[in-house]
Each structure stands twice: as C-alpha cells, then as structure tokens.
C-alpha cells in the first residue's frame, strides 16, 4: 500500500515537471502582455534539439541547447507580435506548425526515422532526475523575480498598462521581447526534460498537448508561479492517478482522465471569472 502511494506521488511529480517548466514560461510571456499558445511547438523543438545535441555534446550542453532552441522559436514569436504587431494567436498557431513540422521533417530526412534515442543518462537523486529539482527551484525563483524585483515590476507593468510604463521610460518592446524569450527557454527546458530525462528518447509529436495543458495550468493558477505550480501538480497527479486506479481494479478509461484538466480549466474559468483575471493588456499589441 505504501509502495503504491510512493509510486503514485513519484510519478505525479515526474508528470508535472514538464508542465511546470512550460507554464512558468507562459506566466512570463503573458505577464509581459503577450499570449503564447506556441508553448507546444517550443516544447517539441526543445525536446528534439536537446536529444540530438545531447548525443553529440553530452547531457548538460544538450539540455541548454534545447532551452536555446525554444528561445529562438520564441524570438520569432516576439518579432512577429511585438515588432510587427501581428495577431498573437495567429503567430502562436504558426509557431506550433513550425515546431511540429521541423521536429518531424528533420529527423525523418536526416536519420530516416522519427524516433531518436538519447544516449545521455541523467543521474537520479532518490528517483528524480536533476531537472525535477530545477523546476521546483524555478517556481520560487520566478515568484521572487516577478514580485520582488524591479525587473519583475517592469515586466508586469508592460503587461498591465503599457502606456503608463512607456511614459515612465520603460521600453515596452524590450520587456516583451524578454518575457517571450524567457517563456521559450522554459518551454524548451520542459521539452528537454521529457525527451532526455523522462523517456530517454525523442518521438514524433511526443509533447502531445502538454503545451496546452501548461497554458491551462497557468490560467488555472491565476497567472502566478505558485498558482501554476499547484495547477501543474493537480494535472500531473490526475494523470498518474490512472495507473493507481487500475491497481485497485477501478477502471476509469485513460482518455477520460486525460480530458479532465481541460474540463476543470473551463469550469474554473467560467465560475471564477471575477477572481482569476489575465493581465490587463494581455494579448494586445502596444501602439504608441
């Protein structure tokens, strides 16, 4: 019994980790006023690049290059939405198409297959790989950065009221670029965790909607790091629940469990619209 519970908690935390990275990313981007539905594509690219780079350069450079690849894709999102003021949803959709296309096209064309095994093996500390702890640390760090530093205040100010921020001499464009690029780096890390540490393999479309669950978690958590953490843990544990439920012989079909996070998000959004509120200028391009 205790064994089952330990396995359940461990699996829940592992399943939450990629969500935590990506949804923290979402917090940075949306706090700066840019909606990022491209998290999914950024995670995919991070997952792919980290495995390929890891096989050549080793574990840590692989993970860092995975984060960098997410950042580069995010840069494209920032150029389109901040500099060219393109619709942020349209750009996000395009980011996802690019992410899906590239991570299917390149492995198939270069290696003749869509699965690439990772040759790196990550060390484990009581069953958890290093990025699990990094994710937890980043939650605390992000809270401090966003709410206790001048940088955080500025980032939030361009997402709440860009005009006032601009009047005070804060570069709205620069802050938004930074917010979006941090989100790409974090989504890339989430992808890297999935491919290198969680499954030791990159497979086609392996992110499978987690970018969107992360987005849901961010909203569920009220656009805050700790809120996002709570929501990601909830979704991650719900996901690992399907294994434990089967052990007890109560069969809830996996597809039904998988749709719960999305259903919960709609319910919370529809019922608590007054309490959970996006940043005021979220999604709106800033025109001087």
């Amino acid at each position: 019994m205790i064994g089952v519970i330990i396995a359940f908690v461990g699996s829940g935390i592992r399943r939450s980790t990629p969500l935590i990275f990506a949804s923290l990313g979402g917090v940075y981007s949306e706090r700066s006023g840019v909606v990022n539905i491209g998290l999914e594509g950024m995670m995919l690219v991070g997952a792919f690049v980290s495995v390929v780079a890891g096989n050549v350069f080793g574990l840590v450079p692989g993970i860092l290059l995975g984060a960098l690849s997410g950042t580069l894709l995010a840069l494209l999102h920032a150029v389109a939405t901040v500099t060219f003021k393109a619709n942020q949803i349209v750009s996000g959709v395009a980011i996802n198409l690019l992410g899906m296309g590239l991570t299917e096209f390149i492995p198939e064309a270069m290696f003749g297959k869509t699965n690439i095994e990772s040759l790196c093996s990550a060390p484990t500390i009581s069953g958890f790989t290093p990025l699990v702890f990094v994710a937890m640390a980043l939650v605390v760090l992000s809270h401090l950065i966003l709410f206790k530093t001048v940088f955080g205040l500025r980032l939030r100010s361009v997402g709440e009221n860009p005009k006032s921020a601009d009047t005070l001499g804060i570069s709205v464009e620069r802050m938004r670029y930074i917010g979006v690029m941090i989100s790409g780096a974090l989504a890339g890390l989430g992808g890297a965790y999935m491919s290198i540490e969680q499954s030791a393999c990159f497979t086609k479309n392996m992110v499978a909607g987690r970018g969107f669950i992360a987005l849901a978690a961010m909203i569920f958590g009220g656009w805050t790091p700790f809120g996002a953490l709570g929501a990601c843990l909830l979704f991650g544990f719900a996901d690992s629940l399907q294994t434990i439920i089967q052990t007890f012989g109560v069969a809830i079909p996996p597809p039904i469990i998988q749709l719960l996070p999305y259903l919960l998000t709609i319910v919370i959004l529809a019922s608590a619209v007054k309490r959970v509120r996006p940043p005021e200028a979220d999604g709106k391009p800033y025109e001087r």
């Binding site: 909606v35 539905i37 494209l76 150029v79 389109a80 060219f84 003021k85 393109a86 619709n87 949803i89 349209v90 750009s91 959709v93 395009a94 980011i95 996802n96 198409l97 690019l98 899906m100 296309g101 590239l102 299917e104 096209f105 390149i106 198939e108 064309a109 270069m110 909607g209 969107f212 669950i213 987005l215 849901a216 909203i219 079909p253 597809p255 039904i256 998988q258 749709l259 999305y262 259903l263 998000t265 709609i266 959004l269 529809a270 619209v273 996006p278």
Partner: protein
Amino acid sequence: MDKRAIISPLISIAIAFAIGAIFIKFIGKSPLEAYASIFKGAFAGEGWGFTLFSMTSLIITGLAVALGFHCGLFNIGANGQLMVGGMFAAYIALLFSGVPAFLLLPVVIFSAIAAGGFWGFIPGFLKSKRGTNEVVVTIMMNYIAIGMIGYLLTYPLKASPGWIAQSEIIPESLWLPRYKGMIGADPTIILAIALAVMVYFLLWRTKTGYEIRAVGFNPKASNYGGINVPRTIALAMALSGAIAGLAYFNYIFAYQHRVVSDVLLGANVGFDGITVALLGKNHPLGIILASFLLAVLCSGCLAAQFEIGIPKSFYLFLEGIIIFSFVIFEKVMGGRKE
C-alpha cells in the same frame, strides 16, 4: 478586390519556398526537384483528387474561422468541432442504419452540423455570459473532444474484431458517390462551395450577418445601436462550429466509410482553417482561392514523400513560414501606405 489581396498570399508562398529550399538543400536533396515533384504530385493523375479532397475540408474550416473573425471571435476550436461533428454524424448513421438513405442522409448531415454547432456554442455562451476568453475555451474543447472520441472509439463504439480503434463501417447506402471512383471528386466539394455562397449571403445580405459584423467591428457601439451583443456572440460561435462540423464529412462518408480514431483525432485542418481565413482575408471567395493554394501544397507534399522522399511534414513547416511571411509582409506594406 484590391490587387494586394492576391499578391500577398503569393509572395508569402514564394518566401516560404525560398526558406524551404534551404532546408531541402540541407538534407541533401535538390530543391528544384522537390518543388517540381510537389507541383506535379498535386495535379498529375490521382493527385488532382487529393488536392480537391483537401481543398474541401480547407474551405469549410476556413469559412468557420472567418465567420468567427467577422464577429471579433477567434475560433481556434474548429478541430474539436469537426471531430465532434464527424463522430456524431457517423454514430447516427450507424444507429439508424436500416432507414432509407434519402431520409437518413439529411439527418446525418444535420447531425454533423448540430454537434459541431453545439461544440462551438459552449465557448460562445461562456464568452457572452461570463466573459470567458473564447481562445482558451476552444483550445480546451479540442482536447475534451479528443478524450471523448478517443474513449468512444476504444470502448463502446469500437468495431468488434481487430486492434485498431475505429468504428464499424457505415451502411453502404450512405456512401457518397465519387465521379469515376476518384477520391475528392465527391459531392462534398459542391457542398463546400455552396457553404461559401451561403456564408457570403449570411454576412453581407442579412440582418443577422450585419449584426455579426457590427459586433465584430465595435461591440460597444453595437450595444448602443440596439444589437443584442451577447446573443450575437453566442450565435456566431455556434454558426462557426456548425460549419466546422462538416469539415471531415468527406473523410468519413466518401473515403473511409467509418471513423478511424487516428485519422479523426489526428486532424489538423481546423488549424489550417486559420491560415486559410488569414490568407483569404476572411472573404468567402478569398477563402476558396487560399484553400486551393494550401490544398496544392498539402497534396503535393504527400506525393513528394512517395516520389523523392521529402517527408510530408514539410507541409506544416511551409505553412508556418507562410503565416509569418504573410503577417509581416502585410504589416510592412500597410505601414508604407499610411
């Protein structure tokens, strides 16, 4: 229609081809050969059929997204709506398989419309009643549709023998005829074009259409002008979903004659609809033209995979670049005009 409406999509495609050529070169193939194969593949022999086939779904989702846009709504849930529409239509077809086709077919078509409409109505209703962002809700609805249909096709509606998650074959009397047996040459392409005409009339020739566009243009002024804004928003989302509900009708009733889980749940054409609506400037005629362009790329890339081994996912990559080129090009040109 002004000249730029035609030029911008073509230039965006040219830019995407140029960038795509670098990637093709990078994987050690000849870009010229690849593009020749794509264009040949889109038109030669069976290729025409596949082009028409993709075009049908693209027109339908493009119209769905555009109708939402006209009301200031972003329907990113066309994918979920087409899944629910297709699944429900097939379910009804299987349930009443004994009923004669001339009675059953209209009911089946209506089922697709109703289920898609319902799936679109929910986010519209939540937006109008609770101010909930429709983008977020439609994304969530996509995954709820995937979970639900995934469940239905792996458990209660699964065809009894075999490992594949798919439904039973729908009654043969409901199989849509195909001209000379060619894929894509079925009545749904006519349905898609008829829908384009209907959307045009709805938006620009009826009171409801006027209200939809007015709310999209300025919800506050529409409210003062006596338009019931919440009702219009819910209606526009429901209509958008209803249209999208038909997008995979050809797949199920004219091609596979059953619902195959991997195929229906792997649909991406709901997102392609966003590209189509964007390139076609939300106008039905523009949407038909944009659907044609995208369909050529889609079926061409499929053919090129078999012929010279360019993975068909190249299509997704091209589409992403097309979107970026288009929005940036439009901005640059628009800026110059001012």
